[in-house]
Amino acid sequence: MKVNKNVEAIIVTLLYLTCLYFWTLPIQDNPLPYGEVDAFSHYAVADYTYTSDRSVTDLPHYIDRRYGKDNEFKQHTLWYPPPFHTGLAIGAAIGGESDFPIYLVNAIFCSLIVLSVYFIIRRFFGFEAALLSGFLLIFSMRDIMVFLWGQWPERMGFAYLPLIIYCFYKYATSFLKKEQKPVYLYIMSFLLAINFFIHPMDFFHSVGALIIIGLFFFIKERKIFFSLKHVSAAIVLFLLIVSIFPTQSMNVFVKLRSGTAEESAKGDFGRLLGWFKAPRENTGTPPVYFSYSAMIGPYWTVPLILLGVLFLLLRRNNKDLVILGWLVSLYIMIHLDFIGKGRVHRSLSGTAHIFYPLMVLGLLYAYTFFVKLVPALRRYKSLIRYVLVVAFMIVVFISIGAGARDSLEGAYKSIIARANPSQHALSTWLRGSEVPDDADMFHMGALSLAKTRSIYMMGHRYMGTSAGGSLDEKNFTYIVMDYSDLLLIGNRDGLNQLQSFEMSLANNTLLYNKDNIRVYEYG
């Protein structure tokens, strides 16, 4: 399908705005922070940067209490390289407030995969394949779930892989044609370094893909397709860039040495025959996360993926090898538990990025094959192609799009899923209160760890719960008696227990008393 470049630019804009519409649904009506515990750690670093008007070097107490040891190379400093969180904070500074802009910029960052997959598929296989792949990715449930829960840098980092392998392809093919274009290799260095900064696991995915694709190129071409001088310069450039954040970069290598697999299928050959098997032990993810039909699409799409792979295997030009190398490298990353390594269920979240393009290629090449087989159809082949593309978009939207939209629209919508207005008021008061910055507060009435974390990350004061030890064990100096959630869900027993405990605080100083929440100085 030929399409004018300017019209295409408008279509791509509409595609991405559609994506952004869906991915910002959780904040369109309610701008309060949401997510699981990880989300609030990322929010907190960005929010603190914005509110303190300074870059974070040493962690403030309320972040340090939980994340102070996550940087194993230099404790009490940022555990991720700063660009991701600084990017969110820049959004907050531009927007003039904290919560909504941070979540909006994050939605943009996490959905960049739609643009990068569109880009590589457009360059390799044309407009329709790219449009369909990008459209499908908007509704990739596994991406959406991870985005909603809060593994934000991991989501964003995957978007760099398609561009990195594209640069590699451009450099290698230019070299093979004797029209060397080392600029692609240098751009690749920049992208790899940024990929490393955003999320180390995604960086290793990219490196894995480069190794496999390089191997495929070498097997096919049977000659060296790079200049040692260019590669050395690219490596030096990469090392120079990653050295600008030494404590965070070194943390990655320290963690690599001490890293163990979360799930182990060491020596289980059966594991190699499937794409993924839901782990027996609890990885903190719901079982539905491991379901193909719930996360990727209906089972009738599996043959399309296989057709896509078959088509690439039969043709095997250099572009096909890039996509196949990407697929094989992802397979390896997802099966690292076979050798007792990796956090393979996290790698699984990169599946849709390659499965959807393969599905689309399978569909388009099945169509081409069918038209060749039935000569009578050739006269209408353009019309049939348009109808096929539109029909596929409609069918896919009905199959996965509606569910994805409902998940995004309903995410953390209930009154108890995010901080309620009383808890938000408490957070706002805490920020400017006389409670010292290094105080440890005890949150009573908490419904979940994530809820407590959201309140204290917004309030800039650390709060523990009974999950982390009893009141006296932990030497808490302030107590938050929070009846607000228990009242909202009508938990009589919980309210009675809280009230009877509060009677024992009669001799303590009451600092805050508003909307069913009281704060006492304790001890």
Partner: protein
């Protein structure tokens, strides 16, 4: 349809979308991000013989990583907001200087 008209349509689409669904704050954030993350790097990458599509995509993805990195280090020594302005101004001066020297 020429390039300028296309750019105009795209900016109007982004503007309308931002205002309708994300309000004035969303509008500011989206256009502000395009300005600081994208524009200086788009001009800088004009030197390297890339196609328009490559230049657009690479400048966005490189800008998202490089701009905050510079702001971060400046923000250690000065106001974070000032660091954003200084980074943007310096990058724009460098980009425009290089563009002029090429032309």
């Amino acid at each position: 349809m020429d390039n300028k008209m296309t750019l105009g349509i795209i900016l109007v689409l982004i503007g309308l979308f931002s205002f309708i669904f994300l309000g004035f704050t969303g509008f500011r954030v989206i256009f502000g991000m395009l300005l600081v993350f994208f524009l200086p790097f788009y001009i800088l990458l004009g030197r390297f013989g890339l196609s328009r599509g490559e230049r657009m995509v690479f400048s966005l993805f490189i800008g998202i990583g490089v701009f905050p990195s510079i702001v971060y280090w400046l923000g250690v020594f000065m106001s974070f907001r000032l660091a954003i302005v200084v980074t943007f101004v310096v990058l724009m001066i460098v980009a425009l200087f290089l563009k002029k020297s090429r032309d």
